[in-house]
């Protein structure tokens, strides 16, 4: 590389950084965000956390009630993910270029997935809340829609990546479409798909908290309730329990992933 190219590259990186800094300043102006003030609140917030987020024996009396809510959230996210995975399997097979039946269904599947995925879970939760009311099904459906969108994209990618050789080989033997899909495509992509499903369960437990705050279900509702009652010990307990649940599920799915991938 000659000197000129080096100089040009340097100029490019400098321009890029100036651009980023410019965008950051515009954003800070739009949101009234003051960097110095913002950073200064971090220590204050941390000190406050250390002083107030302490679990006492009083709080432990609320444990059974909170655990019940946490259970609801965990079950909600597992159920939403599993059922969404079943639907996504069909959409994924219809949407992938390897196994597409025809162009119309393929585009339709991708369109549904894109629509479901790009409208945020919050919007789904608020829309569904209007007619489904305050119960587990609202949260379940909100998570379900977002998960279908995400998993369909992931499944389409896994099927595409697996390649078409097995598909061609089975078609050459005269196997029907369903035999090919059942005996070649699904067994080949299953480990990848399960890995995505496990990933989605972890993500959904976190999103379920958010959905819970909006729709009044599960652990999110419990958090919101104690938060508004200024009962910060209970808030600390809930946060800790969510962390424990997420980490346990993460460890379990890492273990499964190590075996199957």
């Amino acid at each position: 590389m000659n000197e000129k190219a080096f100089k040009r590259r340097k100029l490019h990186s400098i321009l890029f950084f100036l651009l980023i800094i410019g965008v950051a300043f515009i954003s800070a102006y739009m949101t009234d965000f003051n960097l110095v003030e913002g950073m200064a609140t971090i220590p204050t917030a941390l000190i406050w956390m250390a002083e107030n987020l302490i679990i006492t024996t009083d709080t432990l009396a609320k444990l059974p009630k909170i655990l019940e809510k946490l259970n609801e959230t965990i079950f909600m996210s597992i159920a939403a993910t599993t059922i969404a995975a079943a639907i996504s399997l069909f959409l994924g097979i219809a949407g992938s270029t390897t196994t597409a039946v025809n162009g119309f269904f393929s585009t339709l599947a991708r369109l549904i997935a894109s629509f479901a995925r790009n409208i945020p879970v919050v919007a789904w939760a608020l829309i569904l809340l209007l007619s489904f009311g305050q119960n587990s099904i609202t949260g379940f459906l909100a998570l379900f829609v977002g998960t279908v969108g995400f998993l369909t994209r992931a499944f389409i990618e896994s099927i595409d990546e697996a390649g078409s050789s097995a598909y061609e080989a089975l078609t050459a033997t005269g196997a029907t479409y369903f035999q090919v899909v059942g005996k070649a495509i699904i067994p080949q992509c299953l480990p990848q798909m399960i890995s995505w499903i496990l990933f989605m369960i972890e993500t959904n437990i976190r999103s379920a908290t958010l959905v819970g705050i909006l729709t009044g279900t599960g652990i999110g509702y419990a958090f919101d309730l104690y938060y508004k009652m200024l009962d910060y010990q209970a808030v600390a307990l809930i946060t800790l329990l969510i962390v424990a649940a997420v980490i346990i599920i993460e460890l379990a799915s890492n273990h499964i992933r190590r075996v199957i991938l």
Binding site: V121, V122, I194, T217
Partner: protein, 277 residues
């Protein structure tokens, strides 16, 4: 010839899947997920749910939303401004997060830092990641007050945790020989970072940062709705929770959808360019 023990089924056919651990783990996982799902439906709280009426109503609502979107409580200019605020929240959290995560990731990559420092940063970051963003925002809101500051700090925490993991994995894949070559010339730690690690990972770092930006946009919408951070998410919350104005909800949803699709197309493009091996 030695006799080989073959597992056969009742009909005498050879069972080719016998003893395959991968298959049994997959079967167990699928089975237990199905069982958990069935139990979930038995334990759900169905208070006040009339499924038939709810589905009909949702269908009508969705039709009103998506076929007749309109603005009633604020103007086009304001809508654009609110979308801008949401994007700005995401931008600040992503940029600050990426800068801080870069340094933390340097100290948490096993080939660049002390083993114990690396381990403790990784555990700390895993803890931060396990707490949902909205809880961070609400916790910060107690100290900083509800608003953009708490939202940005909460999102920042989560972005840092996510990016440290991604960045440190990228750093750990840097060619060992390159680092050794530089070290053998007597160059210092910062020298190796600037001249070996940074050039060979910069495209990865930028792509990961952009992916996080995409996530942060939808998080910013959520924070507006759930934690009063302002922006289009807050307008969405007001439109559906206070005004019950489905047409406005439809308009806002379209606006969010548009931004999200633009970001997704851009990130797919980036992924194809930099992550395809």
């Amino acid at each position: 010839m030695d006799s080989v023990y073959l597992k056969r089924d009742k009909a005498g056919r050879i069972n080719i899947k016998a003893g395959n651990r991968v298959n049994s783990v997959i079967n167990w996982t699928v089975l237990s997920l199905t069982l958990l799902t069935v139990t979930a439906f038995l334990f759900f709280d169905y208070t006040g749910l009339e499924i038939g009426r709810a589905i009909m109503e949702t269908a009508v609502n969705l039709r009103t939303m998506f076929l007749q979107p309109s603005l009633n409580h604020f103007s086009w200019g304001e809508a654009l401004f609110q979308v801008g605020v949401t994007i700005s929240l995401a931008v600040i959290a992503t940029i600050l997060g990426a800068v801080i995560a870069f340094f933390l990731a340097l100290w948490s990559a096993v080939n660049l830092a002390n083993k114990w420092v690396s381990k403790s940063i990784k555990i700390f970051v895993a803890f931060i990641r396990a707490v949902p963003t909205v809880l961070w925002v609400l916790i910060f809101a107690i100290a900083a007050g509800l608003g953009s500051e708490a939202a940005i700090l909460g999102m920042l925490f989560h972005s840092i945790a996510y990016l440290v993991k991604a960045f440190s994995e990228a750093f750990e894949e840097v060619d060992k020989g390159m680092l050794e070559a530089l070290r053998s010339t007597g160059s210092g730690w910062w020298h190796t970072i600037v001249h070996a690690v940074l050039p060979s990972t910069s495209t990865y770092l930028l792509s990961w940062t952009f992916l996080r930006f995409e996530i942060n946009f939808s998080v910013a919408v959520a924070m507006g709705a759930a934690a009063g951070a302002g922006g289009i998410g807050f307008e969405l919350f007001m439109a559906s929770g206070f005004y019950f104005d489905l047409r406005e909800v439809g308009f806002i949803t379209y606006a969010i959808l548009l931004v999200a699709i633009v970001l997704e197309v851009a990130s797919t493009h980036l992924k194809k360019r930099y992550f395809s091996s």
